[in-house]
Each structure stands twice: as structure tokens, then as C-alpha cells.
């Protein structure tokens, strides 16, 4: 009869008070047990929490370090890519470790020097384009004069206009275009490459793009502003072209 289910309502009615009582008792017991055991649990949880927090902090610092390494690796891969696509030159990769003290001068210091085969006047590039040239060096460090320095002048050619000119730096770190003959049609955005004239830099290295042009009356040359292709404020790794010997024309200058 029990199997057939005829007694189920009777069983339910008779068992339900016991279940309720059991449930009440169990809850009270758990509450009682928690009351006495919770300080121990709290202490365990607290120490566990502390341990996990320490672990999280350690992992976070590891993540930051790995992200730094990844960013550095990205830069190095890009430099390597550039070196592979420009096999005419030999390169030495270097890290920028310092910047010029005076705000009027635009120089950076790299961690490679004469021990690594670097010499005075060697051109310095990144995967984007021209950075500058070595101005001074010791055995394990070198100072690079950036093309944005006020004393820097780079002979260039405009790719579309097919004319030559000069890119000069300034005390504020901006670069400008000069010595472009009047009458030359220069398009904004025209690509500026090194011309190789003067023997200071190898030809066909990307310098920047024409931003604006100015042509005044009664002057022989047009001037303009240039958007450099290299972001000099975030420069962190560079390539020094070691198989290019800069020509020193200073004895020929009157």
C-alpha cells in the first residue's frame, strides 16, 4: 500500500513536523557552531586574504614588467624588421638612456659607444626614419645630435616635387623646411627624404612630411614646417648605421 502511494499523504503529514523540527535544530546548531568557530575562520580567512593580496600584487608587478618587456620587444622587432628590409647598411641597436640637460639643445645619450664599433658622425635611425648622428662618444656611451637640434641641418629632397632643400632644427625642437626654390610646387604632405648631399647622411632615409609652406615676396627660397616621422619625445631604441662614413667637409668651408 505504501508502494502504491495510498499512504503518502499520511506519511507526509506525520513526517513533516519532524522535518521542520530537524531543520530548526540544524539551523540553530550551525548558528551556534559559527558563533564559536568564526573567530578562527576569520583569522584563517584574513591570513588567506593577505596571502592572496600579496600574490595579486606580485602578479600585477610581473604583468607590468612583462608588458614593459613586450613593448621593448615590439620596438626591437620593428627595428629588426627595418634592418632586414634595408640590408645595404649595417646596424648596431642601442637604447636611449638619457636626454640633454639644457632645454635649448636636442641630444640623447645611448648605451653603446666606441667599444661597439660606433664612431663620430655615424647616422642614427629608427624603423620610422632619421633620428640624427653621433656627436660625441666614449667607450660605452654616445651622445646623438637629433635632427631637431638648433645646430642641425639635413640635406633633403622632396619626393613628389623632386627638388632639394634643407631641414633645420630649432631651439624648441621643431623642424622646418628651407632652401626650397621659389616657384616650386610643393604639395602639403609631400614626403621628405635625405638626399645624401654633403655626405653627412646616407640618401633615401625618411625624415618627415611637409606640413605647411610659406613663400614671401622678394626672397629666393620658400620655407615651411615639417612633421617629423620620428616621435622624439618617446624615443627609446635606435639603430646606428655603422658602415656609413660621414664626409668631413669642414676643411673646405671658407
Amino acid at each position: 500500500m505504501a508502494i502504491s502511494g495510498y499512504l503518502t499523504p499520511i506519511f507526509s503529514l506525520s513526517v513533516s513536523p519532524f522535518i521542520s523540527a530537524q531543520s530548526w535544530l540544524s539551523q540553530r546548531y550551525l548558528a551556534f557552531s559559527d558563533f564559536f568557530n568564526s573567530p578562527l575562520d576569520m583569522a584563517t580567512l584574513s591570513s588567506e586574504n593577505q596571502r592572496l593580496e600579496n600574490e595579486v600584487a606580485m602578479l600585477q608587478s610581473e604583468v607590468v614588467a612583462l608588458q614593459e618587456n613586450l613593448a621593448q620587444a615590439d620596438i626591437l622587432y620593428a627595428l629588426l624588421d627595418f634592418a632586414r628590409t634595408n640590408p645595404d647598411h649595417e646596424y648596431v641597436a642601442a637604447t636611449v638612456v638619457g636626454r640633454e640637460i639644457s632645454p635649448y639643445l636636442q641630444y640623447v645619450i645611448i648605451d653603446k659607444g666606441s667599444n661597439d664599433g660606433l664612431r663620430h658622425g655615424m647616422p642614427v635611425v629608427t624603423q620610422q626614419g632619421l633620428v640624427g648622428r653621433i656627436d660625441a662618444l666614449i667607450s660605452n656611451a654616445a651622445r646623438i645630435q637629433l635632427i631637431t637640434d638648433a645646430n642641425s641641418a639635413v640635406n633633403i629632397k622632396l619626393q613628389t616635387a623632386q627638388v632639394e632643400g634643407l631641414v633645420r632644427g630649432s631651439v624648441t625642437g621643431e623642424i622646418s623646411l628651407d632652401m626650397v626654390p621659389v616657384g616650386t610646387e610643393v604639395q602639403l604632405g609631400d614626403v621628405i627624404m635625405t638626399s645624401g648631399l654633403g655626405g653627412t647622411y646616407p640618401p633615401n632615409i625618411f625624415v618627415g612630411q611637409v606640413l605647411t609652406m610659406q613663400s614671401k615676396q622678394n626672397v629666393l627660397f620658400q620655407t615651411g614646417s615639417v612633421q617629423p616621422v620620428v616621435d622624439f619625445s618617446t624615443l627609446s631604441a635606435v639603430l646606428v648605421i655603422t658602415n656609413f662614413e660621414a664626409v668631413d667637409i669642414s676643411p673646405l668651408v671658407p
Binding site: 638619457g98 640637460i101 639644457s102 632645454p103 641630444y107 651622445r143 622646418s176
Partner: protein
């Protein structure tokens, strides 16, 4: 000997911080020169006889890392040394005021010498741009940083010259 060691160590730390961090902190195109600020602050508190030798070494190191010609830091640092001795004997009760006065004067002299040097080298200089975008922001940053640098060097000087630091 401790004073020389602390003074020189402080200078090296300052130089490294300048090259790696403070040269990149810019307002417009001007940046602070905490090496100059350190030299000024240390000169104000220095009580040693041979400070000028340490100054020569500092000049040499700055000339080594900077593209500035040797005579610019030499003139500025020697002027700072001379002026700090002068100031110590007259307004020694107010070293912070002396720090401000010397920072202002030394920054102006350094700017004038640098611009003069670039002008002689026939560099492409727009004087109004050089004043507004470089000189004034650099002066402002130097004046702002003069306070913390002075406070740090003062603490260092208390260790280096326990008897002789006036405040």
C-alpha cells in the same frame, strides 16, 4: 670627508635623475635643471674648504654628458659658488629666499649664455620663441622645483654638517 662623499653622491643621483626623468618633464619646450638647483642648494649649505674642487669635478661631469660647451656650466657654477658665499654672509637667516634669488639669477645667466653661444654658432634661433617657449617655462620649473630640492639638500646637509647648518 663625509660631507664630500654625501655632496658628491647627491650630485651623481641628481645628475642621473636629470638625464633620465627631469629632462623629459616639459612645459612647452622648457625643462627644469635640477643639477643646477642641487649645486645652488649645496653651495648655500656647504662649510668645506675645498668646495671649489668638487665644483670643478661637477662641471667636468656636466660637460661630459651635456652638449653645452664647458665654459657655460663653469661660469654659472662659479658664479653660484661666489654668490652663495656672498649670500651666506648677508642673508644667512633666510636660506630659502637665498635659494630663490640664486635660482632666478643662475637660470637667467645660464639661459643668456646658452642663447649667446647658439647665436655665435649661427644656429637657427627665433628669440621671442626661445624666450616664451623655452626660457620662461624653464625658469618657472626651476623656481617650483627649488623648494623640494632645497628641502632635500637641507636634510642632507644636516647629516653632512651636523654643527654648522643654520636655519
Amino acid at each position: 670627508m663625509l660631507s664630500y662623499f654625501l655632496g658628491f653622491t647627491g650630485f651623481l643621483v641628481t645628475l642621473m635623475l636629470q638625464l633620465s626623468i627631469f629632462s623629459q618633464w616639459k612645459i612647452l619646450s622648457g625643462s627644469a635643471d635640477i643639477v643646477l638647483l642641487y649645486v645652488i642648494a649645496w653651495s648655500l649649505y656647504d662649510r668645506t674648504k675645498w668646495m671649489w674642487i668638487m665644483l670643478l669635478i661637477m662641471m667636468g661631469m656636466v660637460s661630459l654628458v651635456s652638449a653645452l660647451p664647458f665654459f657655460i656650466p663653469a661660469i654659472v657654477y662659479l658664479l653660484v659658488f661666489w654668490a652663495s658665499r656672498l649670500v651666506q654672509s648677508r642673508v644667512w637667516q633666510t636660506p630659502l629666499l637665498a635659494m630663490f634669488v640664486l635660482t632666478f639669477g643662475a637660470t637667467i645667466v645660464q639661459i643668456l649664455l646658452t642663447v649667446g653661444f647658439l647665436f655665435v654658432q649661427r644656429a637657427d634661433i627665433n628669440f621671442s620663441q626661445a624666450l616664451i617657449e623655452v626660457a620662461l617655462p624653464a625658469l618657472l620649473l626651476n623656481m617650483l622645483l627649488a623648494i623640494p630640492i632645497h628641502a632635500l639638500v637641507r636634510e642632507l646637509a644636516f647629516i653632512a654638517f651636523p654643527q654648522g647648518v643654520e636655519e
